[in-house]
């Protein structure tokens, strides 16, 4: 498949999202993959805030704004309802942020992905509560400043690591899970198609760089996503049939410091902090590479 093979159809238009929004790109691409016969559940967060306010309704497919913690439970209910009616040709898609998945919605997420229900849970990861103005979530990287963690090196008791939702999902041994990035659209697109073809719950965790939250210029969203993968701060992975594998390995690696320098959210990090982060990234990469063998 080539980039020009991605359909021209648009199922979301003229939303109120910020310039350079990575999450909006993830939603747009996912809907191109899934097509018109898709229904969407979106909890409170950036993606509902920029799409749900009357009279400007940008989705051309049915959408429900869910309570914050309820995404996965509602997906189960919709899926069960369609199953009961014998409806088989509708994709049931949840689109939730990192806070809605890793924090407030974790219990429902964990239950839903061991159910037999068929749905796609897409987590658009921008690494903080961006809708309410950049507060830390449990997936905010170590060293990133937020309004609830303004000086990450100084504040005691804040995160010592970034919660790994993909591994949590994999531990549930669900039929299909993947990580992806909007900067690698074909890899992402194909994963959405695989999720749609899965008979049961599936999970895609897509990294969606956020210019105002990460503090980089709005034209550099794609570059930030690429640097995340090249530095090992993010990996493109897939889990199915009981195995985790890389779907893409960058030819050249860059040091974490290069990624960090490009974003003002990391500007208060000490050299020791950067070195610590680099060692965490190295460990994770080694562990993943070992797992694959």
């Amino acid at each position: 498949m080539k980039i020009k093979d991605i359909p021209k159809d648009e199922f979301i238009t003229s939303s109120l999202s910020c310039a350079g929004c990575g999450a909006m790109l993830a939603v747009r691409l996912a809907l191109k993959a899934l097509g018109r016969r898709t229904v969407i559940i979106i909890p409170a967060g950036c993606m509902s805030a920029v799409t749900c306010f009357l009279p400007q309704i940008p989705f051309r497919v049915p959408m429900f704004v869910s309570p914050f913690a309820a995404t996965a439970a509602i997906l189960q209910g919709v899926s069960a309802g369609f199953k009961w009616r014998g409806v088989k040709d509708i994709n049931v898609l949840g689109i939730a942020g990192d806070g809605a998945t890793a924090d407030i919605g974790m219990a429902a997420f964990s239950q839903a992905i061991v159910s037999g229900m068929r749905f796609i849970y897409l987590c658009v990861e921008n690494e903080a509560y961006m809708n309410t103005g950049i507060q830390s979530s449990s997936t905010t990287p170590v060293g990133a400043a937020t309004t609830t963690d303004p000086l990450p090196d100084a504040l005691q008791g804040t995160s010592v690591s970034k919660k790994d939702i993909f591994s949590i999902a994999v531990a549930h041994r669900l039929p299909y899970a993947a990580t992806a990035s909007v900067s690698y659209p074909l890899d992402y697109y194909e994963k959405v198609l695989k999720a749609a073809g899965t008979d049961g719950p599936s999970f895609i965790h897509v990294l969606t760089p956020c210019p105002p939250g990460w503090r980089f210029p709005t034209g550099e969203t794609i570059e930030m996503g690429r640097m995340a993968v090249k530095s090992g701060m993010w990996h493109l992975l897939e889990y199915s049939g009981g195995k985790v594998k890389f779907t893409y390995v960058p030819k050249e690696r860059i040091p974490v410091s290069e990624y960090i320098k490009a974003q003002a959210r990391f500007r208060t990090m000490s050299p020791d902090g950067v070195a610590h982060l680099q060692s965490m990234v190295d460990e994770r990469l080694a562990a993943l590479s070992g797992e694959e063998k």
Binding site: R36, R37, T38, V39, I41, S48, A49, T51, C52, F53, L54, I57, F59, R60, V61, P62, M63, F64, V65, S66, P67, A69, A70, A72, A73, I74, L75, Q76, G77, V78, S79, A80, G81, F82, K83, W84, R85, V87, I90, A107, A108, S110, Q111, S115, M117
Partner: protein
Amino acid sequence: MGEKRFITGNSAVAAAVKLARVGVIAVYPITPQTPIAEKLATFVSNGEINSEYIRVESEHSALSACLGACMAGVRPFTATSSHGLAYMHEILSYASGGRYPLVLVNANRSIGPPWSIWGEHQDSIQQRDTGCIQLYVENAQEALDTIIQAFKIAENPNVFTPVMVCLDGFHVSHAEELVEIPDQADVDRFLPPFQTSALLDPDEPMTLAAGARGKQYTIWRFEQYQAIRVAEKVIQEVDEEFEHIFGRGYGGVVDNYRCEDADIIMVILGSFTGAARDTADMLRLDGIKAGVLRIRSFRPFPNQIISDYLSSAKSVVVIDRDVSYGNEGAVCSEVRGSLYGLSHPPTITNFIAGLGGSDVTPQEIEKVVRGAIEMKGSAQRSIVFQFMGEGK
């Protein structure tokens, strides 16, 4: 004619869910509701009912899954109690605000601490303003019948509002009674297939539970307000139609016992009504004209009907199995509000009783009623706690 069986209130609930041909069931266990979850799971396993049974990790998710099923065009069901209902709080408002016609059952139980698994009305009363219709039943038969009615009420296009059917924990949920199970054919005749306007339908895409501001927001809320007021009439009509088909009616929004000529009327909810009726009979033997008004519909609150029943009484005793801390029993406040503006209103005594599953005897009620008869002047208010006496 249906079949008569000796079953618990919880079993009567499960029987109603089966008769209503529910498509999706999502229940999380909590005492005293748990036997409903178990019974329904057994029905599904046996193939006695054709439903999808979703195992959820919380009551928050149970009701959320019901919302999802509604939007997929399928009739859902859930049941809970106490802390479980409290955990559903956010979704109750969501269900009513989004106008989802779902039915849930609450087996009434206290909220801790002090920890107690036993019955009272605090759990559902404190969900009063979530916008859900609340119907309180007296016994297992009424529980079964009211659940079937509740689907018809919730799914009325002029209503499209969730209905919570409340039955007293243990006194109804676990007590066995002779219950007539209606014929499926009669229920099918009474209850049409599920309908809702809030569908996730790719052929007619809509954004549901959208955001609104200012006047648009107020229009939405006004329609919600109107719908639950309209429900008062719908509850009565549905009960009348039910009586016509099944031979059992419950008075619609209130159930009257000897109120017509009564000087003293006891107002009550739920299963303790029988004790109050005994009190009325005892007092009448003593020449005191007493009656009982059981409120079936707490939301919508039938202000005018209640006012009409109570307007010619001299004294009213409102029996609350709940407390609105910082004021009085919540039912009492509602009744008091209904009587505002009467030229000769009755005195009102609030009897807080039956908390934490305590039994309330006719003799205990009688003592409070005799105290109420002594009280003069509409401005006076009195609140009496069972076991404790008068409160300040």
